[in-house]
């Protein structure tokens, strides 16, 4: 392990304020900040978000320029927060949008699509989108070291991208994390720091470290840039649907950022005239019952949520105090969407249903999405003919342990044809 280091490097002359980004803007008070590694408004502590020059973007971005772009999320680079050309994570995004006829038949939905990020590159989850954007921006800002606190997908993606960029990488985990999950990170050779303490302790420590060291902490000081990568889920959906915004989307909620950015992505495409605006779009959220602060607030008709202690098999959604929970509730309210929550058995049933109807093996978060989609369809919140997209954000190979005891045993036979015919009774 070497000492933490970074060399804040100024932009080359003329690139300090890249033309398509105007600055960072506070979501609460509207104050503008330079495009630096900062994430909170000094004045009101509101979160900062990238402020784009849409007029300038409209002059350089069109359906044609997108079509000529690479087969990755970088085809939308004009709406992503990097100043130059991307150099890392060049294959993230452009995952399949699958017409889910068999799943739709079960759920009574005739126009259902699955956005399948189980096959995202390089680490099989939607985090490859946000991390590829964050790492490119971190390099532009002169960082040599990248860090995150994660028990799963985020750590995988940060470690893999850092490895390919040749950057130093620190991953913070709670000391009692399962060995399998630790190994999945160690392969990329980051420095994995196991913190003796609970989740709250890891959180506190990371916040302090984020303020202490000149590192690109992807979901702290780089968060305004990192979060923008999620918009590409919406961009790709619209393009893959033939430049169209769907009627309904169902999005898993962890921090709430993905849901808000999918909404923002559709709004940006409409603002630029790349798609027709669709005020009827409903954005629905999906949470695990064991960690459902946004669902509980929605069900109680509140605009604020109360933090919870997560207890669910959907670990990738286990965020008890979601940074963007308030904004997710706001988007759901504005779009007249709904939030549903799924129990652990319902999550597994959702995973199985998706696998047996569409051949997609999703992680537990995918089970949450499918289970909540089912509930929304059953109660008529999604009508059969509506163009609906469900977002599947991670690969099932990452959460195999969740299926233990839920699936039937293999059929055991002797190595004879007679045994096969007697026991299996093939049709």
């Amino acid at each position: 392990m070497s000492n933490p280091s970074a060399s804040p490097r100024p932009f080359p002359e003329g690139q300090k304020f890249p033309s398509l980004m105007r600055g960072l803007k506070c979501r609460e008070c509207g104050r503008i900040y330079d495009l630096d590694p900062v994430h909170v408004c000094d004045f009101c502590f509101g979160p900062l978000e990238v402020d784009y020059d849409y007029e300038a973007i409209g002059k350089v971005m069109s359906r044609a320029t997108v079509a000529q772009g690479p087969n990755s999320l970088w085809r939308y680079k004009h709406l992503l927060p990097i100043a130059g050309e991307p150099t890392i994570g060049l294959h993230a995004g452009m995952t399949p949008l699958i017409r889910a006829e068999r799943l739709g038949e079960v759920l009574g939905l005739k126009n259902l699509f699955i956005k399948n990020d189980t096959v995202n590159h390089p680490t099989l989850s939607f985090k490859d989108r946000v991390v590829s954007v964050a790492i490119n921006r971190a390099r532009e800002l002169g960082f040599r070291t990248v860090a995150c606190a994660s028990t799963g997908n985020l750590a995988n993606s940060v470690s893999a991208h850092a490895a390919s960029a040749g950057m130093e990488c620190y991953v913070f985990i709670p000391h009692d994390l399962e060995a399998g999950k630790v190994l999945g990170n160690l392969i990329y050779r980051p420095t994995v720091v196991s913190v003796r303490g609970n989740y709250d302790d890891v959180n506190r420590l990371c916040s302090e470290i984020g303020g202490e060291y000149p590192w690109a902490f992807v979901n702290i000081n780089i968060r305004p840039y990192y979060a923008e990568g999620s918009k590409t889920m919406a961009f790709e959906t619209a393009e893959q649907l033939g430049w169209k915004i769907p009627d309904q989307v169902v999005v898993p909620i962890a921090s709430g950022s993905l849901l808000t950015k999918i909404w923002k992505g559709f709004q940006e495409f409409a603002q630029l005239g790349l798609v027709e605006s669709h005020p009827g779009l409903r954005v629905n959220g999906a949470q695990a019952q064991g960690c459902s602060p946004v669902y509980q607030a929605f069900a109680a008709g509140r605009t604020q949520f109360v933090p919870v202690k997560p207890k669910t098999i959907a670990k990738s959604l286990a965020i008890g105090n979601p940074a963007d929970g308030y904004y997710a509730l706001d988007v759901i309210g504005k779009s007249r969407g709904q939030v549903e929550a799924a129990s652990d058995p319902e999550i597994v049933a959702g995973m199985v249903l998706l696998a047996e109807t569409e051949g997609i093996f999703a992680e537990t978060a995918g089970g949450v999405t499918v289970a909540c989609l089912k509930k929304l369809a059953e109660k008529g919140a999604i009508r059969p003919d509506e163009l609906t997209v469900a977002y599947i954000t991670g690969n099932g190979l990452k959460t195999m342990e969740a299926l233990t005891g839920y699936l039937p045993e293999p059929v055991g036979i002797d190595p004879t044809l007679a045994s096969f015919q007697k026991i299996v009774k093939p049709s």
Partner: protein, 80 residues
Amino acid sequence: MTKLRFHMTFPEERVKEPILYEISQKFRVVPNIRRADVSDRSGWVELELEGELPEIERTVQYLRQRGIHVDPLEKTILEG
């Protein structure tokens, strides 16, 4: 002296109590509120605590014992 930023959520049974006044009397810390939303059922406050680090740690410990949910300003950083 250190300054650390926190998001604190107050449950219904604590909303009416002057807890921030209490910590400024009990500990050598200076709370500086930047944003808050308090109703009769719950409330949250975003603030900076200034003081020596061990004193801030003791303050946070005390608040947690009183049933206040204390997170860094960024809320949950540890992601799946």
